[in-house]
Symmetry: C2
Subunit: 324 residues, 2 copies
């Protein structure tokens, strides 16, 4: 079942960009199904002179809405319908650029947690000079126990294997120093538990290790992980602004000569290249795309959702957790 349920209504640029992304994915041989308001989707498809399968959903859970309340009040929301399609086997995976909370709640309630998973977790992928780094939890679980961090680490390692083909991904604990014994009680306890697993645990890592490629998977609680995620965005954005200010001082010929290099940096730093984060620990592949996803991000998100299904991400997570 390689069909991917695409929440056509979720995200700042939906449905225009979600539909356009799905059409692009389809032309790459993937199998998206668009879920949402039938006439709005039909309009977008007509504009693109494209044809894709559509499943109607009459409601939308908005960004500011309480996720649990939204799920109860709107059983025919696009996100609920996507989740039901995965739960009932009409799709192998789903992707949404809508409310992260609603996607998490729909996945947990409708698709269900994998056996043995205490807390589903959101894993983000970071561009680095080496192979991309998986960082989790990136915001699903604000306050956690040490044993949750161990499960996150196992799930993140499986994701790194599945997405990037790494054999024994190096797992690091996000901390404020490299030596053992650093950090909060949570981090000290998690360090000891991680060291006792069969994971390739490389110890504590710091934010500056993004550049030094010391770990393939970086694990932390959802508060710290989310700060980490958004701080890299802020720092990269700051660098980009300073770069633009500096380059605007150059002679026009120099600016023109430099443009290809800037484009290459942009492409490599761009979250859109990875298409979204993975919700791990539920009984289906769930990709959570950035709220401002363009069609490029959606198409890439459909691709990684497809990869997750084709490479049995869910089965591997479950069997690894059972063996951990």
């Amino acid at each position: 079942m390689n069909r991917i349920a695409v929440d056509a209504m979720g995200g700042d640029l939906a449905p225009a960009e979600t539909v356009r992304g799905a059409v692009a994915a389809s032309s790459m041989g993937l199998e998206p199904i668009l879920v949402g308001d039938q006439s709005a989707i039909a309009n977008e498809l007509a504009r693109l002179e494209a044809d894709l399968p559509v499943v109607h959903a009459s409601q939308v859970i908005e960004m500011g809405e309480d996720p649990g309340q939204g799920l109860r009040d709107k059983p025919d929301s696009s996100i609920s319908v996507c989740a039901r399609m995965v739960a009932e086997g009409q799709a192998g995976a789903m992707i949404s650029a809508g409310s992260t909370g609603a996607a998490m709640a729909a996945a947990a309630i409708i698709i269900g947690r994998s056996q043995g998973v205490a807390r589903p977790t959101i894993a983000s992928v970071f561009p680095t000079p080496g192979s991309p780094t998986v960082v989790l939890d990136s915001g699903a679980n604000i306050e956690v126990k040490p044993e949750h961090l161990v499960q996150f680490a196992v799930m993140g390692a499986v994701l790194s294997e599945v997405l990037f083909g790494l054999e024994k991904p190096r797992v690091g604990l996000l901390n404020i120093g490299e030596e053992p014994g650093k950090g909060r009680q949570l981090d000290k306890d998690a360090f000891d538990l991680l060291a006792a697993t069969s994971l390739n645990f490389v110890g504590n890592v710091e934010g500056r290790d993004l550049a030094t490629d010391r770990a393939d998977v970086i694990v932390s609680d959802g508060f710290t992980g989310n700060v980490f995620l958004k701080t890299t965005e802020g720092a990269a954005q700051t660098m980009a602004i300073l770069m633009m200010e500096a380059f605007s001082q150059l002679e026009p010929e120099a600016q023109a000569a430099v443009l290809p290099a800037l484009g290459e940096i942009r492409r490599r730093m761009d979250y859109e290249t990875y298409g979204g984060a993975h919700l791990l620990g539920v009984n289906g592949v769930v990709v959570i795309a950035h709220g401002s996803s363009s069609h490029v991000a959606i198409a890439n998100g459909i691709r990684i959702a497809h990869d997750g299904v084709a490479r049995d991400l869910v089965g591997k997570v479950a069997s690894r957790l059972a063996g951990a």
Copy 2:
């Protein structure tokens, strides 16, 4: 008392770079006093054909050493002597690039906390597209209470006023979303307390706000603040590596044309421009320089230490806290 006690023995590049930095500061009209091994310092001064006042200290607390133990075992360490000079009025401020823990312990024990301060805090300065942003606590206090965050905010606001001349610096709480009610219980409680102060509190800010200039002061616990600090370093370093890789593909003439712009970015992003972090909440100006500080960072650190003394940073922190 504008004399600045400089720990000549602290830091990866000491004493060569610390002495060289002090000589540079002296030539700018500042008044450093070098503290450490008299003959080692004399050698460096001779190499530079310079003359500066020296106070001998026969011991050094090493980076890995337990700070409290080091202070007890080595009463004649360079860091202890610096702190005693501030405590006894022979210097108005001190700067060290050695063990942060030892500098904090020496300041708290020998110089003493300011009245009413529950926890001294380390404040770092970040380059941003607008005026620099003060971030605290950047690692001194791993686990804190909401009322500590309020004191950090007050002290950070005073530092922003003193260093950058801002009148009503905007204070933000580092969080994982902009809306009130986000984050851990700590953050929710701190939000309510901050909103009730006379600070110019702008609410929650995120790491991505580094680029959007929403706050002049960003407050958090020392674990999160330290992750924030090191993640910006890692992200900036990652961008720099990607830039170098991309630019190395350009034609030689284009590379040469771009060099001045790269130098300008480097200068603006460089922590050395700010010379160090401030330890706030003790009865003296204490600047904690980066462990790998070059002479440029040391000279700038001596300058900001001088500014702190000349503009009565300590008195202003104490009076603001008393009035908060």
